[in-house]
Symmetry: C2
Amino acid sequence: MSTASLLVRDVLLEYGAIAQTALKGHLDVAARHDSVYGLAADYPLRGGRALRASFCIAAARVYGASISDAVESAVSLELLHNAFLVRDDVEDESEERRGRPALHVLHGVPTAVNVGDALTVLGLRPLIRNRAILGPDLAWRILQEAEQMVRISVEGQALELRWRFENAVDLTDEDYLRMTLKKTCWYTAIYPSRVGALIATRDSDRLDRFVRFGFFLGAAFQIQDDLLNLVGDHSSYGKELDGDLREGKRTLMLIHLLRSSTDGERARLQDMLAQRRCDKTSADVQWVHDRMVHYGAIEHGRRVAHALAGAASHEFRVAYGDAPESRDKRFIEALPYWVLERK
Amino acid sequence: MSTASLLVRDVLLEYGAIAQTALKGHLDVAARHDSVYGLAADYPLRGGRALRASFCIAAARVYGASISDAVESAVSLELLHNAFLVRDDVEDESEERRGRPALHVLHGVPTAVNVGDALTVLGLRPLIRNRAILGPDLAWRILQEAEQMVRISVEGQALELRWRFENAVDLTDEDYLRMTLKKTCWYTAIYPSRVGALIATRDSDRLDRFVRFGFFLGAAFQIQDDLLNLVGDHSSYGKELDGDLREGKRTLMLIHLLRSSTDGERARLQDMLAQRRCDKTSADVQWVHDRMVHYGAIEHGRRVAHALAGAASHEFRVAYGDAPESRDKRFIEALPYWVLERK
C-alpha cells in the first residue's frame, strides 16, 4: 500500500470512529430497538468505513473548523447515504450489502422502503441540531446544500433507472459520466468539500471550486467500485460479484461492451438485459463477463478510472490550493490514489 | 348536504385552487417535463382536493395570518402527502390512485420509489423558502414541526407494515387508533393546526392543544375513508373497491371481523391474509366482505367514526375556543361533519 493510501486508511479509522459514535447516538439503538429505528440502524451498524463523513470532517478541518463543528453535518450525510443504499438495493433488486442480505431481502420491500424514509428523516435531525452549534445563518446554508445534494442524487438515480426501464443500449461514456456526477459524485465528494469549507469559512460564494475535483474523484471512485464488482474479492467487497451484470446496471464497462460488440452479440445482450434479475442464468452472466474481458471493457474502465484520478489530483490544487498544509489536506490529496488502490 | 359540508366544499374549492397554483409553480412541470419531476407532478396534478393544504391555510388565517404567510407550508405539506401516497401505493401494492393506475403500475417500483424521494425533497424546498417570507426563527420552528410530522408518519407506517408482515390477527381497536394517530392523524389534522397557529401566533408553547382535536378528526376521517373502500362509489372514490381487503390492510372493520369470527372463519381469514394480493380470488374477497356485513363490522366502523367526529366537535371548542369568529374558524369547526358526509 502506498504512503497516500496508508494515510487515508488511518484518517478513515480515526474520523470514521468519531462519526460512528455520533451516528449511534442519533440512532439511539438501545432505546428504540423494537421499532423502525432498529431496522434503520442495521446498515449503519454493519460497519461501513464512513468515507463521506470523514471527508466532510477533514474538509472542515482543512479550513480551520473543529471536529465538533462538522460532526452533525457528517452524521447527517452518513444517514442520508444509508437511506440511498436501502433504496438503491430495493430499486436494483440487490441481494447483499456489506456482507449480509440486503434489508428488503430480510424484511420485504415495503418495510425497506419505509426504513429508507426513516433514515432520510433521521438525516434531517442533525441538520436541525446544527442551529444550536453553528448558529441559524450557517445552519440554513448547510440545509440548503443538503437539499440541493439530495435533489441532484435523486435526479441521477432517475437517469439510471430510466436507462434500465427503457433497456437503453446506445449510451456513451459521456452519458455515464453525467449520470455519475449526479448520482455519486455530488454526495460522495462534492458535497463533503462544499459543506466542510462552508462550516469553516462561512463563505457560500466560492463553493463551486470543489465541483471539478469532486466530480473527477467521485467518478474514479464509482468506476473502481464497479470494477471491484467484476473482478474483486467477495469477502472484502461485501456484495455478490457480477451483481451489476445481473441487475443490468449501465456501468462504463457495460457501455464499452455494448459499443464494441457485434450486432449479434448486442442483440443477445439486449435480450438478456431485458430479463428480470432472477431469470438471468449464471451461464449468461459468465458470457457477458467473458465478452467484457475479450473486448477490453475492464481494461477500458481501469484506464478511465486512472485518468479521472489523475485529473482529480490536478484539480485538487485548484480546489484546495489556498488551504494551509495539514494532515487533513494531505488526506484529501491522497484520496485519488486510495481510490485506485482500494480493494 | 348540510350547511357545514357546503361551507367545507366552498373553502376547499377556494384554498385548494390557491394551493394547486402554488404547487404547480413548485413542480415547474413545463420546464422539467422530461425528468423525474414530470413523474413527481403526476399524482398532484390528478387533482386531489388539497384538504391538508387548505386546512393549514385556514388554521393560519383563524389566528390572523395571511394566505401568503401560510402558502409555502401548505404546499410543502401537500408535496409530502403525495410522497406518502406514492410510497403507500408501492408498499400496499395498490393498483389505482385518484381514478388512474398507481405510479408503480405505470413506471415500475424502482422509479416510483425514486419519485417518492423526489417529492420528499420537493416538499423541503417551500420550508426553506419560508425563511425569506417568515424570517429565520419562525421558519426553523416550522421545519422542526415538519421533521416531527414525517418521523411520526414513518413510525405509523412501520406499525401497519409490521402487522401485515407478521400477519397479525389479534389486534384491538386501541391498536388501530394508536397506529392511525401516527400514520394519518398527525399529518392530516394535527400538523395543519399546529403549523397554522405557529405561523400566526409565533407561539410554540401552546401547540399541544390541537392534538386531541386532530386525533379525533383524523381518525374519523381515516375510518370513513376505509368504509368508502368497502361501500363507496368507485368513480368518486378513485381507488379499486375492496382494495383494502386485497391488501390485507388492518382496518377497524377487519379487526372487528377478526374479533367476531368463529375459530374456523378466523383460520380461513388468516390464511387468506397471508396470501399475496394477486393470489387472492374475487370469491375470497367477496366472502370477507359478506362476513363483515354479517358480523356488523361495517356498522361498527360507522359508529366509531361518528363517535370520533362527535369527540372532535367537542374538542374543537378546547382547541380553537380562543380564536375570534370567522369563516375559517367555521370551516374547521365543520370538518367533523363533512368527514362523515363525504362520498
